[in-house]
């Protein structure tokens, strides 16, 4: 996964604490078609464990996670 991932929608979740990041990402992912990718940017450190748990439960796929300082970027493919 070194080539750039094509992002269909960006979700800005900066500054939002639990449970907002997962609540918003679960809503946001429904706004793209199955197979498309969203980029979710969170500053909540809990997201690092919460997003994978959410993805496993909801049947979606985290393609890549990037951390830059306090900023966490998730590339999530809608599979369900």
């Amino acid at each position: 996964m070194n080539e750039a991932i094509k992002v269909d929608k960006v979700l800005d979740l900066k500054g939002l604490p639990c449970p907002m990041p997962v609540v918003k990402v679960s809503k946001g992912i429904k706004e793209v078609a199955i197979g498309q990718v969203i980029e979710a940017i969170s500053t909540d450190p809990g997201s690092l464990t919460d997003f994978p748990a959410w993805a496993r439960t909801s049947g979606n796929e985290i393609l890549k996670t990037e951390q830059d300082g306090g900023m966490i970027k998730f590339y999530i493919k809608r599979n369900a």
Partner: protein, 181 residues
């Protein structure tokens, strides 16, 4: 050959019966507490569960009941005890207090301002979000009657049901998760 077919039909009906018994992807929660912190935790779990794809039911009973009163509404026709409970119990989400460190309201006020600063959703916002996400709320009819609350003074909420313990248990029985808060 016919024996096999018989066994197959029998197995199929057994599987169907099992499927009916299997718990649904649902969370049933009893909100017994009327403390701000515990009600907040309840809503965090409820909204998080919807995000995880679950169907969510919250059953408000006892001290949890007055949390669902509408601060802008009032109801007449109460007896003396009803009036007393009405005056002494919080009128809605904005009047509930912390279970610890309330310090005559100072602690709760501090917590509220801290939550605002840290961007943590308030109870009012949580309730609104729960409604938007389709969280179902049940209100215990017995608590309403005991504390003298009238339906006219309760919040407007899309998925609100007044019910008893049987209705909650029916939901809880086929839920994967049941919580008491």
């Amino acid at each position: 050959m016919q024996n096999l077919e018989e066994q197959f039909t029998k197995l199929k009906s057994q599987i169907e019966a099992l499927e009916k018994k299997a718990p649904e992807n649902k969370l049933s929660m009893i909100v017994f507490s009327g403390d701000m912190d515990k009600v907040l935790a309840s809503f965090v779990i409820a909204t998080g569960a919807v995000a995880m794809g679950m169907d969510v039911v919250m059953f408000f009973t006892f001290w949890g009941t007055p949390v669902l009163r509408d601060k802008n509404k009032s109801a007449g026709g109460k007896d003396m005890m009803g009036k007393m409970f009405g005056a002494m119990l919080p009128k809605g989400t904005c009047e509930v207090k912390l279970s610890k460190m309330n310090m005559a309201g100072m602690g709760t006020a501090m917590m509220k301002s801290l939550m605002k600063k840290k961007n943590v959703a308030s109870l009012e916002q949580m309730l609104e979000m729960a409604e938007e996400l389709g969280v179902r709320i049940f209100i215990c009819e017995m608590s309403m009657d005991l504390m003298g609350f009238k339906r006219d003074e309760m919040i407007d909420y899309a998925n609100l049901t007044y019910c008893g313990v049987a209705k909650f248990l029916e939901e809880a029985q086929n839920s994967k998760i049941q919580l008491f808060i």
